[in-house]
Homo-oligomer: 375 residues x 2
């Protein structure tokens, strides 16, 4: 369904919904340093066959709505790069955050902007951090989520990935009663933080839990109405910003820095708020490209288990990720396994695939010891 | 003793010996790639406080003879760099091999050149691959070796390092009877290849073995006389080259490629040849800078066991060798230990300190896969 417009009859009133997609592309992506920098977050890196994760997310969005109804919310510093990567999007649809204020504002601000432009907007807030396949299954789930939001004025729809493993790196949704008339939609009774291995295993075995995809679909004004009850200050601020974009640099940095799950979804799932949370199943391969370990899975290894991008020679080396971004510069590995070696013009990283979490503290140390120009 | 000239009486004939030092600085030093290249062998790398191993060897030689009597034999391609590193040496004392033909020719050709210039030359052939301390002990041993060679027309004197460990990386000399009138000189009954650990341990315990230093002292004509018997073709060729240096490019590449131990020292120690092999004790710290593992020992590690040269940030990293030769380029390591990371403008090496032997095959692979300009 290329256009989401839909006609519904509620008594004598006819409401014409218009579907929109907001792609969230903020975040510095420290875990892919030195490829990702403060000036180039991971969603803009052309990691997968020369295409960025943002571009892939945009092409998924085009299966739902035309380019004119795709909004990208990103850091103000990345706007030029986003414009170059997605030339099809009207400039007015690129929203640049003066600074990162966590997911609540990356959701609430675009929702307010769209609601201001179109009071009947139904909005899918989608992430750009994953490889999602097959796209048909993604489109099917989003169509169901849009339909739920359009039919139910109280619904905050969240996408739940049907888990394929007892993953400890994702939050989980506890599923409640099924919604009549929809293939997969059901109530959400609880949001669960990232579990330990035993808990994740129990979740998987029970069949009652889905991974929290961090993607949402709702009528914009439904979400804003919930926000008005749960966080009136943020609600007032984002409505003000929608009408007065020139105030962004002063107002945005004052917004409460918190997650949309914490501020809205969890309280609503516990009955605090006028609406209710609904989950729709996303039956897709869900590969988070959060760090180098996941990049190995995504890119696929050669016969020796190595993933190599750029000029490199490996000798007696197995299960390594080797990326050289400098033409003509040779990376050479001998007798090593499970390593990450990433070479950029001004910085080279050597770490292990098992320890890619250590990059966060490394990057902090780099900024302090070598200077912020390296991060 | 700054000059080695010495007067000896043999019947009615007075022989005036003149001492010379030949520094052998050939070899590509593959095991220090990518620091060392075909154009820059390891002896020319300014590894130790900005000073090259060649320069250190030259400064040791100056304790034995004046600069005018120091000869350097190296690859023809390195002559300019050697000249820049050792401006004190007369240009005629720099001998450039058109190609490497192993140690026999690196010894025999300079011996022939010196014998042609000075029939009474007594020559110390010294290596430039080691850090040797204290220098006084080195000078003392060389003085004894010169004295043995000057007193005994049949002696091929080889330097034996008194072992401090059951090292398996060196060949050994089996000591025979002591020579009267000298503090440490003794016959050599056998040359032993690099032993396994058990054999090395037995050698060390017996007190009968010294490390083969690969350094020699003899009257040039004594060595050449032995060579004439054991390898007449090489003997004829090097005498011809001494008189006809213009023939070097055609003749040198045809020389038999073999080691001086195999061609001369071992046969003479077994009685095949007119003379005999004598060893003199070198009681010094003997640190071979053959590869990265030895470089760690030589340079000395910080509190985390890391050796760092250049701009680098290490996080949770222990026992690594990290060298960056490109100003402003940052090397960053996280969660790794026992690694070698060496960054040069056109090539970066990542390997382990335990596996630095693997560099040899890596370099071969680099030449084949990425091009000879990288080696």
């Amino acid at each position: 369904m290329a256009s989401g417009s839909q006609e519904m009859t509620a008594g004598v009133t006819t409401i014409l919904f218009m579907r929109y997609v907001v792609i969230m592309a903020g975040g510095a992506g420290t875990r892919l340093w030195p490829l990702s920098r403060q000036g180039t977050p991971k969603q803009l890196l052309k990691l997968i066959g020369g295409v960025s994760l943002l571009r892939l997310a945009f092409e998924r969005a085009l299966r739902l709505v035309p380019a004119e109804r795709v909004i990208v919310v990103t850091g103000a510093a990345y706007l030029d790069e986003v414009r170059a990567d997605l030339p099809e999007i009207p400039p007015g649809n690129l929203l640049g955050e003066p600074e990162g204020r966590d997911s609540l504002n990356a959701v609430a601000w675009p929702a307010a902007v769209l609601s201001y432009r179109d009071p009947d907007a139904v909005v899918a807030h989608l992430t750009a951090d994953q490889l999602i396949e097959p796209i048909d299954a993604f489109v099917e789930a989003l169509d169901e989520a849009f339909a739920v939001a359009e039919s139910d004025a109280g619904a905050l729809v969240t996408l739940g990935v049907v888990p394929t493993s007892a993953h400890t790196g994702y939050g989980y949704l506890h599923r409640g009663e099924a919604l009549e008339g929809f293939p997969t939609a059901c109530a959400v009774t609880e949001f669960k933080e990232k579990p330990d291995a035993a808990t994740a295993s129990r979740y998987l075995g029970s069949g009652q839990y889905w991974w929290n995809a961090g993607m949402f679909v709702w009528r914009a004004h439904t979400f804003l109405d919930q926000l008005a009850v749960l966080d009136p200050a943020t609600h007032a601020a984002v409505l003000f910003l929608a009408a007065h974009p020139e105030a962004l640099p002063e107002v945005f940095p004052t917004l409460r820095k918190t997650s949309v799950d914490f501020a809205v979804m969890e309280p609503v799932s516990h009955g605090r708020g006028p609406g209710h949370v609904v989950a729709v199943a996303l039956r897709v391969g869900w590969r988070d490209v959060g760090g180098y370990a996941s990049l190995v899975e995504v890119l696929g290894a050669d016969g020796d288990g190595n993933v190599v991008d750029g000029l490199a020679v490996l000798n007696d080396a197995h299960g390594n990720l080797v990326i050289s971004t400098v033409p003509g510069h040779l990376l050479s590995l001998a007798g090593v396994s499970g390593m990450v070696v990433v070479h950029t013009p001004d910085a080279t990283l050597v770490t292990t695939l098992a320890d890619t979490e250590g990059i966060k503290s490394l990057v902090g140390q780099v900024a302090a010891a070598a200077g912020t120009r390296y991060v």
